[in-house]
């Protein structure tokens, strides 16, 4: 049986450096599909769709809200051709009712332990409209290595440099942050993977650089330390969301190859300043993630925040505007206050203002978002700052013998396409 697994494309944010990273959720899901199924993966960000391929069943894996309308359009095309389509993934869960209108089946929840039944139902012509496992999370121990062999690897290179591989060591998050939907997605409980399972998965990754995509690793100190200890022998370099800033954790993280971490910066406090310094003291870079447009921010606050970011020596900064994703407190609050004016999911990309902010107009917030990017990168562009970070990791790789040279055969391509040289 042939199963075509599709990751729909989305419109990238204007004016920002775009990197196409190999999608993670889709290949983690693929690992749960029965062995008798032949899986082919299409990442539409990098490949053309092939609606007329000879396949039996189609899966659409959706991660982002800004992807859903394209996912629905893809499903409509396949279904016109008589193919059955099942949807899964985070944004399928966030937009389940709307997705059902374009699907033969939607899968809600985590796939481990359930796909034998889904494929059996498909073969028997008994596919259910909804597979609801939102309240039925699998034991974390059964989460196996992702099926990385499904990637068309050469597509994930920019001028010969391989993009990082995405990887997860845990699921869920014990925090419930204002703009985040993780708690709705079944994640109120932090579920760390057993270290031996993490090691098994890591061993399958032929890439010396990783992005650990867990919501936050800073949720269980002992597990976090055990994880970093287990990672040391792999000599991989990695970025991740927040890690704890206790000296013993940072020391192990640095030994385990921590390259840089994301740090939410929400105010101009000494707490943030000192935290960034602590990371730097251990040779770990910091990319600030800054959410603009919260109800406690005025224009002056945003300006002060940007000045502060420049003072604290962040390696990179990523600015977003609040996107009220369904099933978040932000969404509930703004709906109650009748402040959402744009329900076009294509625009929920965290770069476009879709609601009326409290202390300024939507247009002004859009300008402040641009101001933040422009001001932070005025003296040194995003590419230059990224290059500095890359240089730092290359030095460490050269030191420990893990550096891989740029692939010459791909040096004139970027994500599968020829690089166009500008002629003066």
């Amino acid at each position: 049986m042939k199963f075509q697994l599709v990751f729909p494309k989305w419109r990238k944010l204007e004016g920002q450096t775009t990197f196409n990273l190999p999608p993670h959720g889709a290949i983690v899901f693929a690992a749960t599909i029965p062995d008798y199924v032949e899986v082919e993966f299409i990442d539409e960000n990098l490949e053309e769709m092939r609606f007329d391929d000879d396949v039996d069943f189609v899966g659409i894996s959706m991660l982002l809200t800004t992807q859903v309308k394209r996912g629905w359009a893809i499903a409509d095309e396949y279904r016109k051709r008589g193919k059955k389509v099942i949807f899964g993934g985070i944004s399928t869960m966030l937009h389940a009712e709307e997705t059902m209108l374009h699907a033969d089946a939607v899968f809600l929840g985590e796939a481990e332990g359930h796909m034998e039944q889904v494929f059996k139902d498909f073969r028997n012509g008994e596919l259910k409209k909804v597979y609801n496992h939102m309240n039925d999370l699998p034991p974390i121990e059964i989460v196996g290595p992702a099926r990385r062999e499904l990637y068309k690897r050469d597509l994930y290179y920019h001028k010969g440099v391989q993009m990082v591989d995405l990887f997860h060591a845990s699921r869920g998050c014990k925090y419930s942050c204002y703009p985040c939907a993780v708690s709705y997605l079944g994640g109120r409980q932090f579920r760390p993977r057993p270290i031996d399972k993490v090691v098994e998965d890591l061993a399958t990754i032929d890439n010396n650089r990783l992005f650990i995509v867990d919501n936050s690793l800073a949720q269980d100190t002992q597990w976090e330390k055990d994880l970093f200890k287990a990672m040391i022998p792999f000599k991989k370099k990695w970025m991740s969301h927040t890690i704890e800033d206790k000296p013993e954790v940072l020391d192990l993280a640095a030994q385990a190859g921590a390259w840089y971490v994301y740090q939410a910066v929400f105010d101009t406090s000494d707490y943030i300043k000192e935290r960034v310094k602590r990371y730097h003291d251990y040779g770990i870079g910091v990319e600030g993630t800054i959410l603009l447009g919260l109800d406690n921010q005025t224009e002056d606050d945003i300006k002060r925040l940007v000045d502060f970011l420049l003072e604290i020596d962040l390696d990179l900064a990523e600015f977003t505007v609040l996107a009220p994703f369904p099933h978040t407190k932000a969404y509930s609050d703004l709906i109650k206050q009748d402040r959402i004016f744009n329900k076009n999911w294509d625009d929920y990309n965290a770069g476009q203002v879709v609601y009326h902010p409290k202390h300024m107009t939507a247009e002004r917030l859009q300008e402040m978002y641009q101001y933040a990017w422009d001001t932070f990168y005025k003296d040194e562009t995003q590419e230059e700052k990224m290059f500095k970070l890359l240089k730092s990791v290359v030095s460490r790789e050269v030191e420990d013998g893990t550096f891989r040279k740029r692939r010459q055969d791909l040096s004139k391509t970027s994500f599968g396409k020829d690089v166009k040289h500008k002629i003066a």
């Binding site: 389940a96 939102m134 309240n135 919260l294 406690n296 099933h327 407190k329 509930s332 109650k336 009748d338």
Partner: protein, 125 residues
């Protein structure tokens, strides 16, 4: 689980939320001569399921049916307690929710913010 019983909450109410997920909210019902005031409190991290705001049309109907509340006398209030952070969007809030009731179904919720004093007056007067 530590759920605080307070002025706006006499019990923890269990309901099936979206996709039948077990969910909870705080609940206070005050019967007055002219109307019945229902306060549903968001329990945030303690609630494993759907929020009261997302589920209010179903929840309000369920509460009316279960506690034999006359729809026409219902004053339905959503309460979000102070999350004790420095962030303004985590402060306590009260919203009266007005529903259209069509064919025994609650639809088209519209929220109207209330002050704490207004709520206090309503439940004590």
């Amino acid at each position: 689980m530590e759920t605080i019983i307070n002025k706006y909450q006499d019990q923890v109410y269990h309901f099936k939320g979206l996709w039948d997920i077990p969910s909870i909210c705080g609940l206070k019902i005050v019967n007055k001569k002219e109307n019945t005031i229902v306060i549903a409190t968001d329990l945030f991290e303690e609630n494993p399921g759907t929020s009261i705001t997302e589920w209010n049309t179903k929840l309000a109907k369920e509460l009316c049916d279960k506690f034999e509340i006359d729809y026409r006398k219902l004053i339905y209030i959503e309460h979000t307690p102070d999350k004790k952070t420095k962030l303004s969007f985590n402060l306590e809030s009260f919203y009266k929710v007005n529903f259209q009731i069509l064919n025994d179904k609650f639809e088209n919720p519209k929220w109207e913010e209330m002050s704490k004093e207004e709520v206090n007056n309503l439940i004590t007067e």
